[in-house]
């Protein structure tokens, strides 16, 4: 793979290797420090947060106390937020990934009237500012009495245009037309071909879209911010942001500063773990989408 590797012994090559690795290491420090800060901040008392150096631990190790506060504050509302986030994101992600897969399959493997128009619509949808959608959606759903329900967050999230494009590109590559025609010659109906031949072949793409949709929902802030106003329905993002503004405005007491960072730590650990475990999928899938583009 590496062309330079073939001349791996030249002095110039060795110098470049040191230099470039040093540059990447510097950027790694930049990437890593904020995460490290979360860890140290989550282990400190509020006094220490202000009085000790931010990028190292304080003598007084307060992580367990902070966790206890985090999970007991407002009758354990943080746990509720985590559960809400998991619920909203997983239902939305599974639905969105399935719908995107069906749609991507239709775009990749059929010619039909209106295909170009529909593709253009889906692509154009990416340009619409969130407020342009979420605010009228809020007004509509509140007319239907659906705001402040999980559906208000889940239903709009089932539309995931990037997933459609990714699946389209993936399926186009992964499943040949002849294969589908072989299924037709064998007498299988179109749905049967999809479920018994195609679906297993497009699993890697599906997994990627699932992960991307999951992350997109996990990260979503604006939609739940607008749709939900009962704190016990918030996902973590909205909840933590609210805790933070209470902390900073002083209304909830200075006590909350480390708790916010502890909450941040608790909520990013599972996502980062998931990312590390599933890296095989997202790396492959993002590649497919990116290359096709």
């Amino acid at each position: 793979m590496s062309i330079v590797g073939k001349s791996a012994h030249s002095a110039k090559f060795r110098r470049n290797r040191w230099l470039l690795t040093a540059i990447l290491s510097l950027y790694f420090i930049y990437t890593f420090l904020p995460l490290f800060y979360v860890i140290t901040a989550a282990t400190k008392s509020n006094q220490d947060l202000f009085s000790t150096f931010g990028l190292w631990f304080a003598a007084d190790f307060q992580l367990w106390e902070n966790l206890e506060t985090l999970f007991t504050i407002q009758d354990g509302i943080f746990l509720k937020w985590m559960a809400n986030t998991a619920y909203y994101s997983s239902v939305s992600a599974i639905g969105a990934a399935l719908f995107a897969t069906f749609a991507g399959y239709a775009f990749a493997k059929y010619t039909f009237f209106g295909k170009k128009l529909m593709l253009a619509l889906v692509l154009g949808a990416v340009m619409i500012p969130q407020t342009a959608l979420v605010i009228p959606m809020f007004l509509m759903l509140s007319n239907l009495g659906l705001t402040n329900t999980p559906l208000a967050v889940i239903l709009p999230s089932l539309v995931f245009p990037p997933g459609v494009f990714l699946m389209w590109a993936y399926i186009d590559d992964a499943i040949s037309n002849e294969l589908i025609e072989a299924g037709r010659m064998d007498g299988a109906g179109e749905f049967h071909i999809f479920s018994s031949i195609a679906f297993r072949m497009l699993m890697p793409g599906f997994a990627t879209v699932l992960i991307l949709a999951f992350v997109a929902n996990w990260n979503n802030y604006f939609l739940p911010l607008v749709m939900l106003n009962k704190p016990d329905m918030f996902p973590i993002t909205v909840g933590l942001a609210q805790l933070y503004s209470t902390a900073i405005s002083g209304t909830g007491g200075v006590l909350l500063f480390t708790v916010v960072m502890t909450g941040a730590l608790v909520s990013i650990v599972p996502v980062i773990a998931a990312f590390l475990i599933m890296q095989r999928f997202w790396q492959g899938g993002l590649g497919a989408g990116g290359v096709k583009a």
Binding site: Y37, A106, N219, L240
Partner: protein, 303 residues
């Protein structure tokens, strides 16, 4: 032996043919697409044509909200902020992502996989949490940047002052999204067939020349797509300034970006009709910006 065929098929099964199958496959997505994209858009457009009157509820005012928005300095100030932000953030992010992708692809460095994955990780951190973390880091008293500066004997800049605020937000975006773009470029670079590399080794092209002259041009289409998506993302700026507002009320006002403006108009100002017009106008600005970028790129390509 031949000719017995497989006529045993029971006739009662519904076989969907290939003319209607694509529509059925599209149906679930299309249904939600219409319900949660097209309909809200139409609804938003509809309400943007009305105005809440002091007395007598709402009344139809045609394009009044748009003419008002067009002349609204609060909207255009926000647009200017967005463009400053985009011109600051996107080039730096794309350039670093490209350089890192080329470095990782060339294989010159140690621990390639480690760098690739760790640079990407911030993408998994929700924007809200990234913003919270950085606003702690920016904090004047407890922020480690300020602490370090003081320790070294000078004063750290006020990260949320009017001069620094866009840079501070751009930094959050850089931290979050550089790795995402890098991974996409990396994948595109890896997809370039290796016989091309071998050909150019025979040619005696140096690694650097090979990366910039041969590989880079081959991923230009990918770069263009990511830039368009970055433009669209940057012009929708909301979450970061909305949260940083907590610590910088005087710098980030209620119309800092058009999205914040529209949000405040709806939920604070009780003017959803006008907010809808603002959102549409922002959509127009985004479409024009993306289009102008594509046009500029194509112009250059043709030459």
């Amino acid at each position: 032996m031949t000719g017995r065929g497989v006529k045993a098929r029971p006739r009662n099964r519904v076989i969907v043919n290939k003319t209607i199958a694509p529509y059925l496959f599209l149906a679930p997505f299309a249904l939600f697409f219409v319900a949660f994209l097209i309909v809200p858009l139409i609804y938003a457009f509809d309400i943007s044509l009305y105005k809440k009157a002091m007395v007598g509820g709402v009344r139809f005012v045609g394009f009044d909200n748009y003419t008002k928005a067009f002349a609204d300095p609060k909207f255009w100030e926000g647009v200017i902020v967005l463009f400053k932000f985009a011109f600051l953030q996107i080039p730096i992010m794309i350039a670093t992502a490209l350089v890192f992708a080329l470095i990782l692809d060339s294989g010159v460095v140690w621990a390639k996989a480690f760098f690739r994955i760790s640079f990407f990780l911030p993408y998994a951190v929700p924007a809200v949490i990234a913003t919270l973390i950085w606003s702690y880091l920016y904090g004047p008293a407890y922020g480690p940047i300020g602490q370090t500066a003081r320790f070294l004997g000078f004063e750290a800049p006020d990260f949320v002052s009017p001069e620094w605020i866009l840079g501070s937000i751009a930094n959050i975006a850089q931290w979050q999204f550089m790795g995402y773009n890098m991974i996409i470029y990396f994948a595109a670079l890896q997809a370039i067939p290796t016989d091309l590399e071998e050909a150019s080794v025979v040619d005696g092209a140096s690694a650097f020349a090979f990366a910039t002259r041969i590989k880079l041009p081959m991923i230009v289409p990918t770069i263009i797509v990511t830039v368009v998506f970055s433009i669209i993302g940057a012009l929708q700026l909301f979450t970061e300034p909305f949260l940083i507002q907590n610590m910088a009320r005087s710098v980030i006002n209620s119309n800092f970006t058009p999205n914040i403006y529209a949000y405040n108009l709806t939920f604070v100002g009780q003017q959803p009709n006008y907010a809808a017009a603002i959102s549409f106008l922002l959509g127009g600005v985004i479409a024009v910006a993306s289009y102008v970028f594509m046009l500029a790129v194509n112009r250059r390509k043709d030459r």
